[in-house]
Amino acid sequence: MLTDLFGPLSMHRFGHDRGDTDGGSGDHDHNDTGGTDVLARYRERASEVHERVVHDHGVSCIEFLGSTGSGKTTLLERLVERRPADERVGAIVGDVAGDDDARRLEACGVDVVNVNTGKECHLDASLVADAVDELDLETLDRLYIENVGNMVCPADFPLGAEARVLVVSTTEGDDVVRKHPLLFQSCDAAVVNKTDIADAVGADTDRMRTDITEVAPDMEVFETNARDGSGTDRLTEYLAASGRGHAHTD
């Protein structure tokens, strides 16, 4: 005999291996508060980060994510180099281990918090909130979040940024979009990086664009070569428009 908790008020019977499958008396449900959606809870935490960083402190917040080696850190280096002279930049950098990316951004004059996730394959909003505690938001105009190199898990874990920018590279193959549709759908813009070697690695960037449009309608697409910075001007303009921070406006 079993009692169901959480469930709808309607009677609910089920087979069970302890011999109470005979429709025996007394199975009944309790309509409880209903189970919390665990993933929604992570999304709520992301909203809290957004509220604090973007609304309370007016800091523009942009997340970059994508595979290890797609060029996220190099792209960030170019963006930081090209920032307006008075723009103060902070970064939260996630990696399973090590501080290689953090050091590179520090060398560009960025105030960096390095987050080692250990056994987790992605940043989540709680980790970001802890990292934000280590930054002085009053001194920042822009906060970049570089996620752990991963094309799967981050899809389910937004971090509260104003824009999620997915960086893929031609070296990942021009079928990379089709293999990761849910991640593209969870992002606002895509960067196709390493376009300078697209021919050499046999990647058709037009196909990548077409796939992106099919999987994630209206997604902005930028083609870059982050090593020499080509293509990053358009991205800079996009980020300036989408990530302003909006303290005191609502």
Partner: protein, 124 residues
């Protein structure tokens, strides 16, 4: 691989709820998992079966109900979107079948503990 931390949250929730109702054993955990997430039901069940060790849910059956994506559009359309064709993984077509604009998903991105079953007569 984030099924383990998700599993831990779900079991914590189940154990707390059972405790609130005076139950010292959980016989069944029923989950709703959105198909437009990267949660792998098999891995989630595997993780749950490990996380429950030493808890009142140690011998619980675990059932996962998949939740198909649903969406709405600003044009007024709502329903189950088509699945994008010819992809190696199932993903919803986010173009509104009525107007072609991008739809918002309203279901299919959840992971929820729907119901737990405990021995009767602990709380009525």
């Amino acid at each position: 691989m984030h099924e383990l931390s998700i599993a831990q949250s779900l079991v914590d929730q189940a154990v707390d709820t059972a405790s609130d109702h005076g139950a010292d054993r959980i016989d069944r955990l029923e989950l709703a998992v959105g198909e437009a997430t990267h949660l792998n039901p098999d891995q989630l069940v595997f993780c749950l079966e490990n996380v429950v060790a030493g808890t009142p849910a140690a011998d619980a059956d675990v059932v996962v109900d998949p939740v198909p994506p649903e969406g709405t559009c600003t044009c007024g359309w709502s329903g189950e979107p088509d699945t994008l064709p010819e992809l190696p993984i199932a993903a919803p077509d986010l173009r509104c079948p009525e107007c072609g604009e991008r739809i918002e998903l309203t279901a299919g991105t959840e992971c929820r503990l729907v119901r737990i079953s405990v021995p009767e007569a602990v709380e009525a």
